[in-house]
């Protein structure tokens, strides 16, 4: 049987940015667009050109994608032609192959929220899409409040979407803007829309999670006949979020009846990167990943109940609906020390540390990690700090140098021109082979601007490490993440530092303390020690 093609439309960069507290930079938008493209979505909605500087900048330098880059805007305003609407012009000027315009399809919203006549709105819809299609662009209509509108004024809701369809719109996207429509209603109404003359392969669905059913509503719409699904990574979006593509995509690819009926732009191979895509977005947003997230959460395949855990060891299908590897996730069986040890050995081997099965050091390492994680550490990403911890327990960690003390001063005062300026200064005292070395550095970057105490500390620490200096000379600090977390009962600061060397090798280290400077210093120290373990001749 030939599978039908289902199109995935991602709006993380536009509707996803409506999440409270989310504000992407242009560079972040570019990274996310590249991630989405590698995953295999069909459309990437990049933002609203003209609405704010970030979105405009993004389109000015949008990455080349296989996915259809789409600009978002709204239908033209009443009383002017599409050609003379400056808001629409800004959207057109982004020069994307596709344009998606939101417009009214609910009579109540036309007359009460917008304050124009139904006929005027219909003309705004027609006129806008005739203009876009006339310019040779692919057009999409986000029919706002479609389901609510349909329930109160069926005729007008249909009139609005037919106006867009007749004007040559490729996709009519039925939006449950307020998120309250139940999946069964979505199903029924879509059946009636198709019966009214718009075929399912021209219909899309856009749901919100206000009753925690956005995924179900989208999938019900697919079963009812629509062939485009709009959503966001990790379910970002206004209020409770949009339909979560991170749950929808694996369901479409792995669960029946979808897997047999449809194919998408996401391959089974790309699907294995799903967990990583989800985590990368959290990293960009510096958000704590949702442990219980379907498919990609750290707990999604964690089996805590004793009965489950013992059955899982016999046969994983007993308590798993899919193999976690299919989405790049891993099984966790906390009850079983055995599973923990084989995972650990795998990770040690990856680091070039071969440890025999049953070596008592394995238990010691697992215990240390547990202890450290209870204090706020996290070794998921900080592989280099993990390796140092393991080496310590395996007596394979040379002592290159010892930090005797450090002092950092941060000062803010008025300069000679009367401006308030900041300056930090760091002194670090280390002992190498019996020699005491004092290093001092300030916080000024090459352009003379203050880069803060952590940079000053980093420079002082890596200024003169005697016979090791040539090994760390090409190191640089490339990323610095800070999170307030819980260490036991107290809030502590967790710092993750990414370092890079001249060969482009990148590694991550972690530090934890109630004192943010201390936490940073610990991560800096680990970064240098890891580099020395790797490259020093001892």
């Amino acid at each position: 049987m030939t599978k039908e093609r289902l199109y995935l439309y991602d709006t993380t960069l536009r509707d996803g940015q409506q999440t409270q507290g989310v504000q992407f930079s242009t560079a972040e938008k570019q990274r996310i667009a590249e991630m989405l493209d590698a995953l295999g979505v069909d459309y990437i909605e990049g933002g609203w050109p003209g609405a704010n500087p970030t979105d405009s900048d993004f389109f000015d330098a949008a990455p080349k994608t296989r996915a259809t880059m789409t600009a978002f805007g709204m239908t033209k305003r009443a009383g002017r032609s599409a050609e003379n609407d400056d808001v629409l012009a800004a959207v057109m000027n982004a020069n994307t192959p596709a344009i998606c315009l939101v417009g009214k399809s609910s009579a109540f919203h036309v007359t009460d929220a917008l304050g124009i006549t139904l006929a005027e709105n219909t003309e705004n819809v027609s006129g806008s899409f005739q203009h876009i299609v006339g310019q040779g662009r692919e057009a999409l209509f986000d029919a706002e409040h479609f389901f609510d509108g349909y329930k109160t004024n069926r005729d007008y809701a249909l009139e609005a979407i037919h106006a867009a369809y007749d004007a040559g719109c490729r996709w009519i996207v039925l939006c449950d803007t307020n998120g309250g429509t139940q999946p069964a209603e979505i199903s029924r109404i879509i059946g009636e829309v198709i019966a009214s003359g718009i075929p399912g392969d021209h219909l899309g669905i856009h749901t919100h999670n206000d009753t925690e059913q956005a995924v179900a509503g989208s999938l019900a719409a697919v079963l009812a006949g629509v062939r485009q699904v709009q959503g966001t990574l990790n379910g970002l979006g206004e209020r409770c979020g949009n339909a979560n593509l991170t749950a929808i995509i694996p369901t479409l690819l792995l669960k029946e009846p979808f897997a047999s009926l449809f194919e998408t732009g996401v391959t089974r191979d790309a699907l294995k990167g799903l967990r990583k895509v989800s985590r990368s977005l959290d990293d960009i947003l510096n958000r704590v990943p949702a442990k219980q997230a379907a498919f990609v959460g750290a707990s999604a395949f964690a089996h805590k109940a004793g009965l489950h855990a013992s059955a899982i060891l016999k046969n994983p299908t007993t308590y798993e609906h899919i193999d976690p590897a299919l989405v790049g996730n891993t099984r966790i069986v906390p009850m079983s020390n055995q599973a923990g040890q084989s995972n650990l050995r795998k990770r040690l081997t990856d680091a070039g540390l071969v440890v025999e099965k049953g070596d008592p050091a394995l238990t010691r390492i697992l215990d240390r990690i547990k202890e450290q994680e209870a204090r706020g550490y996290s070794y998921d990403t900080a592989q280099a700090s993990f390796e140092l911890l393991a080496r310590e327990e395996l007596n394979q960690l040379p002592s290159f140098f010892e930090v005797k003390r450090y002092r950092v001063t941060v000062e803010r005062r008025r300069n000679k021109r009367g401006q308030m300026v900041s300056l930090s200064e760091a002194v670090v005292v280390v002992k190498i082979d019996g020699d005491k070395v004092l290093n001092v550095s300030d916080s000024l970057g090459e352009d003379g601007s203050d880069q803060g105490p952590v940079n000053a500390l980093n420079r002082a620490l890596s200024k003169d490490l005697g016979k090791y200096q040539h090994i760390i000379d090409d190191m640089r600090l490339v990323d610095f993440k800070v999170r307030i977390t819980n260490g036991g009962t107290e809030a502590v600061t967790r710092v993750i530092i990414d370092s890079e060397d001249g060969q482009g090798k990148r590694w991550s280290t972690v530090g934890v303390s109630a004192n943010i400077v201390d936490a940073s210093f610990e991560a800096l120290l680990d970064a240098i020690n890891w580099k020395l373990v790797r490259d020093a001749d001892v």
Copy 2:
């Protein structure tokens, strides 16, 4: 029309405890049981008596509830009578009015996971329930893996549940244990179960969230005829969690067709406490509440998009599917660079700043916010900093004091006992009414531990503000969030600080700088200035 009664069965205390990292104490279980009872659920599953000391202790001193207290266990083992099964005896001995036993209904699990014959399993089910019902208890059967079992061996799945029903079980609960069954399948299979002779008012549904559709699966089951729904508060539970009662309950009470068809033990009045119940559970677990949670999340009624915000101000139903007050939640119209003037005016009015429509200050404020956000600031949550910015543009910000300079020192060295210890010291110089005041403080907490440079700075800054000191005396720093973000092309640190005063009033401020200490200082300054604006007589 008379509404049909729908029963709510809460398993937060049993299945909810299977969440990774969740371990209730007996006292916590009692508090949660009381909360559930006040909310109005029909059954409270308290745990598995005999399985662990906490659960046994809970039943020994279970709170008196209107809800039916239920003990959980498993069907008797093969080769012995129900009377002689010690595991079952421990469950019976908890003396609850109702008992829920999990048992196999999937042939694969009987033969492969359990390793007994199908006939033996059927006898285990019959024998267990005959025993329980014979003792005058209300009996419930959690038919484990029912849907998966039904799909591979329909006859046996039906044989197992009919055995329980024929033995006098009040409720046959169809469990989607692995969480992979799609709502449409749940619907179809339930129709067939009812056709097989078990009426819907003896059927329950128990789903898991592994494809993010547990709520939808439960509601589809209700539409298909079941009359009991099992779930947990905040969707706690093994792996991705159980069906979330915090979303299901308001949907049943407020959304159609459910609201017209059914009544539950939860009244419209009790529903107003739902947000509080959800937060209390998070408090007990010391979890950060999920902002985007349906109905109860802090962002569930937050309107960030400018178009939405202006319509909401005209009529809240334009972008809200229910009135937030119905579930004890509140509307938020935050600032962001997508916000329009009406959004801004609403937010200013909330802050007691009345500005006429069209006032040029509105444009200036919006421009300043845009500019600041491009530098890395975020005013979504930092309402107090937003107010100060607006007041500045409106010439309504008195200058209480001026910071001339500050200096913070962070030192780490060996103490007399040879341990590495850290200590910070801060000096802040402020000018109040022409007088220069020097304040100094260290970073040691009441227990003598180092709390880092930001705490030292905070203490020095708020040590002596002269005539204003009495106003800020009751202020304390209650939360501190750090995020590395982009300010233009450079990575900068954004600090959000939450402060609280003696009246329990809480406010948030923001600071941004390449220097984390500077960013923190800026947020601390805003926090004090906001308090002075509010409470100082000027």
